[in-house]
């Protein structure tokens, strides 16, 4: 009925060489480090200031202070209140953001090259003289509380939050939300924010990353001019415990009456970013659930039609972040879908992956590498990872050969060592009536909770 375009499958041409952008490192006398990656494609520059002020540094009871402190940087300085400060950035077309994650806080800005000098001067002002006005502190706390309130009716966010809570030992910082919960956020006052800032926002241990249309000389000049005389005493390093809440498999059903779908998170405590098995685990996860054509998605979506998508991931932190399978399935197949996921995790440990699966994972990770770094923002983010995790300078240069070196044996060893089907915690945000079918499915003991994570049955 239609014309033939029959032709043999195209073979790739010879690959062109690609190198991650070369970068230079500098240190200022005050201990501030600078990393510059000149990229001259378009007249755009991204700056990221990385500060050793992640959520793991927070005092107990003040969980969320890292995020509040970071966000408040942009809400006023000694010179300008929040509205005026915003106006100063935005009239330069500078897009700016500040946030905290588990391991660091970062202040990032993207601007056109022509505006770099004045925009960076404002960024430095933000870093050095935040006002933390009482009014803005109260407002950002209230906005975080509103966000938490919204979460109670939002199945995806709720599943994420409760998964962390059921996964980690209650003493672990990782068991609470990155930006804090109702109780901890309410407990944070202006003094606590000021104290956190004074202790953590110091030049020694901080790094300024500049990626984009700029020379090393210009970047150095701009950074020196604005931050060369920034002073402060180095802060101590911080960490949290990363042990699991329990060692046996269990199902945690969070009741949502009349749910049309079950939002599911299945996983256990994973490994730290610095673990020597990083590359075998990345490849193993790509076979299991990291790609569209990975086992879990082909099974749940394409074979069974249970879901719109199902994926697995290791979340990389300085300490052991979660290994997590995420999906949303129609209610009536919840237990069947959970069994399929457990089955796929078990299968990874039982036999080596096929050559086809291994080569799909490694050739994808190898080939997609340049595509990940097309923008100045992506390059800056990569350099943030390098700095936060203390990766060697040749890490990106060696990435592709590290991926290609992973064998089927290494994948099997990684699966046996780092997948633990008997320790899986399964969080289901869905119809509480599912308790019976889940209990009958042999997945593990089932408890029912409300949206606060309080047991109800």
């Amino acid at each position: 009925m239609s014309a033939t375009v029959a032709s043999p499958r195209p073979k790739p041409g010879p690959p062109r060489d690609y190198r991650f952008p070369a970068f230079e490192r500098l240190s200022l006398p005050n201990g501030l480090r600078v990393v510059v990656a000149p990229v001259t494609k378009l007249p755009v520059v991204t700056v990221a200031v990385v500060v050793d002020a992640g959520a793991v540094c927070e005092p107990r009871g003040h969980e969320g202070v890292a995020q509040l402190t970071a966000r408040l940087l942009l809400e006023g300085t000694a010179r300008s209140d929040g509205a005026e400060l915003t106006e100063r950035f935005e009239s330069l077309g500078a897009s700016v953001d500040a946030s905290a994650d588990w391991d660091c806080s970062s202040l990032t800005m993207t601007a056109l090259t022509d505006n770099l000098d004045p925009a960076f001067a404002i960024l430095a002002e933000v870093l050095r003289s935040p006002a933390f006005s009482a009014r803005e502190v109260d407002r950002l706390k209230a906005e975080r509380l509103a966000e938490l309130l919204q979460l109670r009716a939002e199945p995806r966010g709720l599943a994420d939050e409760l998964f962390s809570r059921f996964l980690y030992d209650a003493r672990s910082r990782y068991s609470l939300p990155e930006a804090g919960n109702e109780e901890s956020v309410q407990a944070i006052g202006r003094d606590a924010i000021r104290a956190f800032y004074e202790a953590r926002y110091v030049p020694a241990g901080s790094t300024v990353i500049v990626a984009g249309d700029v020379t090393v000389e210009r970047a150095e000049r701009v950074v020196r001019a604005a931050l060369g005389d920034w002073q402060g005493t180095a802060s101590s390093s911080a960490s949290t415990i990363d042990s699991a809440a329990r060692s046996d498999r269990a199902v945690h059903l969070v009741g949502k009456a009349d749910a049309q779908q079950s939002e599911m998170r299945i996983g256990h405590v994973g490994i730290s970013r610095g673990h020597p098995d990083y590359f075998p685990v990345v490849v193993m996860n790509a076979v299991l659930g990291g790609l569209f054509n990975s086992r879990i998605n082909l099974n749940l979506r394409e074979q069974h039609g249970y879901t719109y998508g199902a994926f697995s991931a290791y979340y990389w932190r300085r300490q052991a972040g979660p290994f997590e399978v995420s999906t949303a399935v129609k209610s009536e197949v919840t237990d069947a879908a959970a069994r399929e996921v457990v089955g796929e995790i078990e299968r990874m440990r039982q036999q080596p992956v096929s050559d086809e699966e291994l080569s799909l994972a490694t050739s994808y990770l190898d080939g997609v590498f340049p595509i990940r770094y097309e923008t100045t923002a992506a390059i800056a983010t990569a350099l943030v990872t390098l700095v936060v995790h203390g990766l060697p300078d040749d890490y990106f240069g060696r990435y592709r050969q590290s991926v290609r070196a992973v064998t089927a044996d290494a994948v099997l060893r990684a699966a046996k060592a780092h997948l633990r089907p008997d320790a899986l915690q399964m969080v289901v945000v869905g119809d509480p009536e599912l308790k019976a079918s889940l209990a009958a499915s042999g997945l593990g003991p089932v408890r029912v909770y409300d949206a606060q994570g309080r047991p109800t049955g």
Binding site: V5, P14, K41, R139, Q303, Y308, K330, A451
Partner: protein, 437 residues
């Protein structure tokens, strides 16, 4: 900044745009079909999007899901998306894999039907129903996607109905529908192919002719009904939706000049003055100063026929009622109409738009997508190089003229989500009082 653009048309009608950039060994292939949910017939809402799913189920020489497999094995990324007026398919790959993407796209444009089976269709209907549950039905405020166009366009207008479709219509879709839709819309003369990145122009032309050249031209598609609309809604439309949500949220929409008209740029800048980032009016006044709202944004749908929509999306702070939220937003809009915007506000908005545009254009996939957009809608991919000037040309008086004409009470549609009392679908233990304890 101007990017190089070459265009040509194959004898079968396929419109091609090429834009070379050799800074990295990356190439993007991007195909827009000029068909979207607006082209669906009665009783088949959601079909254009379901069809997009079926395009990943193989073709004469490609097995089900092999499209994903081949592109990812080559080190590429890929996807597709459906909108009211178009459907797009795109891959970004290492540049030595250009021919693979062209061959895959040509194979499914030329010979999709041999690979279609009832079983594949049944599975994808289930997948799409799950997508609907995930993105709309089981998500707070999720139904705004279909409620807002329904409120703003008359029932017989092609933009009125749901893009994701109703569960019944999805269930009723058949292989015959697939064959008919394919023959009607998935033809080279109803498509635009853009290639951006690291390739040799002559090589690309040769490969495109080789793979797409033999595909026959279509027989033409049925014309869309008259889509023209009055510039205003003629009244203040209002729909209040009790939903399983914790906080009131308002979508306030205005009919606005169609994408591509010169007045569109004033509307777009007006949206940015109102709701783009923290320096925007609504953020400054209602989030920062008055603390009535928790978050706000404004955006346009970018529709090219009849009327576009400018939308303000704003969520209340706890303790603020839906009525108060709507009243305060309306007061801000009234104030803007009455007193106008300043030059500084326009400068801020255009500066941010320019930076965002430049940032996006770094990626080959974004370049190719913008080229396809301007080629599909206006047969003028070179418009991509004129966007900066168009935005720079917008003055405060243009924005004020737009505001006076289009933001008045005779051109507003309020879609207001409010927390349901005694909501049966509420998360257990999620009442506002308890959550705030």
């Amino acid at each position: 900044m101007r990017i190089p653009i070459i265009t040509f048309r194959l004898p079968n009608g396929l419109f091609v745009t090429l834009s070379e950039d050799h800074t990295a060994p990356i190439v993007a292939v991007n195909l827009w079909y000029h068909v979207g949910s607006a082209n669906e017939r009665l009783g088949r809402t959601g079909f254009a999007h379901l069809f997009e799913h079926m395009l990943f189920q193989g073709s004469a020489d490609v097995a089900a899901n092999e499209h994903f497999e081949l592109v990812q094995r080559a080190g590429g990324t890929l996807n597709g998306s459906t909108w009211l007026e178009r459907t797009n398919y795109f891959e970004t790959l290492p540049s030595n894999q250009l021919e693979l993407a062209l061959w895959l796209e040509a194979n499914r444009m030329g010979q999709l039907l041999p690979a279609m089976t009832q079983q594949k269709l049944d599975t994808q209907i289930e997948v799409v129903k799950n997508e609907r549950r995930w993105s709309m039905d089981n998500q707070p405020y999720g139904t705004w996607w279909e409620r807002l166009p329904a409120l703003c366009f008359p029932p017989d207008h092609p933009f009125h109905h749901s893009l994701i479709g109703s569960m019944d219509d999805l269930s009723n879709s058949s292989l015959d529908d697939i064959a008919q839709f394919f023959a009607t819309y998935y033809t080279p003369d109803n498509a635009v192919l853009s290639v951006a990145g690291d390739f040799d122009r002559h090589e690309a032309e040769r490969l495109i002719e080789r793979h797409f050249g033999p595909i026959p031209r279509g027989k033409g598609k049925p014309p869309l009904p008259d889509m023209s609309l009055p510039p205003t809604l003629g009244e203040w439309k209002r729909e209040v939706v009790p939903d399983n949500v914790m906080l009131p949220r308002l979508f306030l929409a205005f009919r606005s000049p169609a994408f591509g008209e010169s007045a569109y740029y004033a509307a777009s800048v007006c949206g940015a003055v109102l709701g783009m980032r923290k320096g925007s009016r609504l953020h400054r006044n209602l989030v920062r100063d008055r603390q009535i709202a928790a978050e706000v944004q404004a955006f346009t749908f970018d529709l090219t026929k009849g009327s576009d929509l400018l939308v303000v999306d704003i969520t209340a702070r706890p303790g603020v009622s839906a009525e108060q939220l709507e009243h305060e937003v309306a007061s801000e809009i009234d104030h803007l109409i009455r007193d106008g915007v300043g030059d500084d506000e326009v400068r801020r908005a255009t500066a941010l738009i320019q930076t965002d545009f430049m940032t996006a254009m770094q990626a080959a996939g974004d370049r190719a997508d913008r080229l396809s957009l301007f080629a599909t809608y206006f047969v003028a991919p070179e418009l991509v190089n004129e966007q900066a000037d168009r935005y720079n040309a917008v003055t405060a008086s243009d924005v004020n003229a737009f505001a006076r004409a289009r933001l008045g009470e005779d051109n507003r549609a309020s879609l207001l989500f409010v927390p349901k009392d005694d909501a049966p679908g509420q998360l257990i233990g999620a009442s506002a009082a308890e959550a705030a304890e």
